[in-house]
Symmetry: C2
Subunit: 146 residues, 2 copies
């Protein structure tokens, strides 16, 4: 946490955890993938592809826009991160994959977690024929009080 990996180069606990995480999900560890994973998993957070790109390039290891997009898509497919679709203009990548929902401030664009205990669904609806459940997203849209 708190930016250890921003200051110290080379192997340390966080780096090792990241390597293990990639390995667990069958993702070949490359420099940029490790770098992107380190940014995402430094703490639970919501980042857009653009924000990830910005942070990648602050550090030594550089990744192109295409690589960032490809990597985030890969991580999402492999289940390391969750895509959060709340804004038609951009996708957020959530490094917290445990069950939870979101507040989205439509004025500021701020995305915040809602603990899953605070919000419980009563009665899963009958699914249409021929489909299976993928996930359930609950978005509580809020606006800044004037």
């Amino acid at each position: 946490m708190q930016g250890i990996t921003d200051k110290i180069e080379g192997p340390n606990q966080h780096t090792q955890a990241v390597n293990a995480l990639l390995a667990q999900h069958g993702i070949a560890p490359t420099q940029q993938r490790r770098q992107i994973a380190q940014i995402l998993f430094a703490r639970p957070q919501h980042l857009s592809a653009d924000q990830v790109l910005g942070r990648v390039n602050q550090n030594g290891i550089v990744a192109s826009k295409a690589t960032v997009y490809n990597t985030l898509g890969l991580f999402a497919r492999k289940g390391l991160v969750r895509e959060v679709i709340v804004d038609p203009n951009k996708v957020f990548y959530d490094s917290n994959i445990s069950a939870h929902h979101h507040f989205y401030n439509i004025d500021t664009g701020l995305l915040q977690d809602i603990d899953s205990q605070e919000l419980v669904l009563q009665g899963l609806p009958t699914l249409p024929a021929g489909v299976e459940l993928d996930s359930i997203d609950i978005i509580v849209r809020v606006r800044t009080t004037k």
Copy 2:
């Protein structure tokens, strides 16, 4: 319903209802706004801007892409339709504004209503400080059974 207004030009029940609807929301009735409203409110449905554009141009009255986007945005702001954000690639406009939620088939892109009675939230979470509730969206993502 069933295309009455596609065949008969001039005033009829549906046209009058559309005129009244626009007036109620303080929207100046122009030809293209009436046309777009007629398409949307022919029945409860989910249409993307592109689909609306396609349908507009099948009929006599034409509207440009910009006008369709502007009009849909206007309708959403004025509360005639609800924007449904489930796909990062496009916004759907839902002509059903009563409380309900959605199934979204991530394979086919099909959006279907879930009756609000079938899915009840237990416990509204405490809102963060300084914000007020706008709306709550529940999206049940499903995929086609292989």
